[in-house]
């Protein structure tokens, strides 16, 4: 293979940005599928945490309904945190994250694809299971669409901001507590708007206003968070 072939090949053969994202996404989804029994864990955690509240407060549905939105969001937040630890951990250990950083492609874009895969595997299931948990806390079935929408959008924002914390704490032993300490205060706006949207949905009222604010945060996160996560990943590779 001549030198010309080596150097020129670099540009002509380069896959498009869309292909790059598709490959990164497909890889993470395939890996998750190979270990699909682990996908249940955040959901199980969510269910258990939700169950603790009636046990700790009251079995009366009438007493649970007022706090249902808050309980759902706290449980969702904690499960999301649990899952975040593993967003970059394996890739950091086996050197694949390093290869991403050295690929000559945008690390920001690759991490965005990874975060998207993470959300598809954790946020979406959470959003779909949440109406069941809400029903167990006294919520009407009619509230289901609102619950799904608010938690789905909220978990997008959570995955994005959590990715930053996950990247910053790469290589830190027992990073769970630190990751929570970093992510939770920064996630307060998500919880405030998300819980408000869920609460309105439970009451059967229009939840458009808080959902729009939530979506605005998610969009802001979409543009800025992968950038910060990429900076954090590069710092961890130094």
């Amino acid at each position: 293979m001549s030198v010309t072939a080596i150097t020129v090949a670099g540009h002509e053969d380069a896959p498009s940005a869309f292909t790059v994202a598709r490959l990164a996404l497909a890889r993470d989804l395939t890996l998750a599928y190979r270990k699909r029994e682990q996908l249940i864990q955040p959901l199980a955690f969510f269910a258990i945490v939700t169950t603790l509240f009636p046990l700790a407060i009251t079995p009366e549905l009438s007493g649970l309904r007022p706090i249902a939105a808050g309980v759902l969001w706290v449980a969702a937040l904690l499960s999301a945190l649990l899952a975040l630890e593993f967003l970059f951990r394996d890739d950091s250990h086996d050197g694949t994250l390093e290869q991403y950083a050295l690929s000559g492609r945008s690390l920001t874009w690759l991490l965005f694809a990874k975060t998207a895969a993470h959300w598809a595997l954790t946020g979406v299931p959470l959003a779909l299971v949440a109406p069941l948990a809400a029903a167990a806390l006294g919520a009407p079935i009619s509230a289901a669409p609102g619950i799904v929408v608010s938690i789905a959008i909220g978990t997008v924002a959570l995955s994005l901001i959590g990715a930053i914390g996950a990247a910053l704490t790469l290589g830190v032993k027992r990073s769970g507590a630190l990751l929570s300490l970093l992510t939770l205060p920064l996630s307060v706006p998500i919880v405030i708007f998300g819980a408000r949207a869920t609460e309105l949905a439970l009451k059967g009222e229009s939840y458009a206003a808080p959902v729009e604010l939530l979506a605005a945060i998610a969009v802001l996160g979409l543009t800025l968070a992968p950038l910060a996560a990429a900076a954090a990943v590069r710092i961890s590779l130094e």
Partner: protein, 209 residues
Amino acid sequence: MSELSLRAENLHLWRGERHVLRGVALEVTGGEVLQVTGTNGAGKTTLLRALCGLMHPEEGRVVWGGRDVRDDLATFHGALIYLGHEPPLKADLTACENLKYWVGLRRRITVTRIASALESVGIPGLAERLVRTLSAGQKRRVALAGLVLLAVPLWLLDEPTTNLDSEGQRLVGRLIEEHTGGGGLTVAAVHHELAVSPQRLRRLELARA
């Protein structure tokens, strides 16, 4: 066409308080292999990581094709492959999938080409085997297949012969010979002498502080 060159000028790098790289300078041009030796802790890995831009030297710079790599890190990365101690493979993917996702991110490849690359490194039947079922030596060969598939000019290899038997070490030598024969450059940190013809070989010895 042999204007491909990698040059490091006066690299100084501290890790915490250790002055690991103390004014390292080197030059490799197309068709050459730079063999970096030194005891453990002498800074071989640090040098390789500084060369590929993962680490920032406090002083000095790295020049690729006449340009400071910091000016356009993305293009520089597009022209190199860095293989660390561990082969960058996911245990739960097959060898073929690993190569598809690793190499395919940077260059369009087909399953046929992957298969022929695996054959050229001596593990033809392992394409559909999960990497977790492979031995350390086989994993190393999968990584070498990736090297072949990527076809980039600059190879930065950190102990490429790890976990390979003598036949595997000859394989590495052969791959490097073919690469440099085509005008490529290789910088390899090694403990054992590379099985490469002496006229291509340059040497750099790093000493511990």
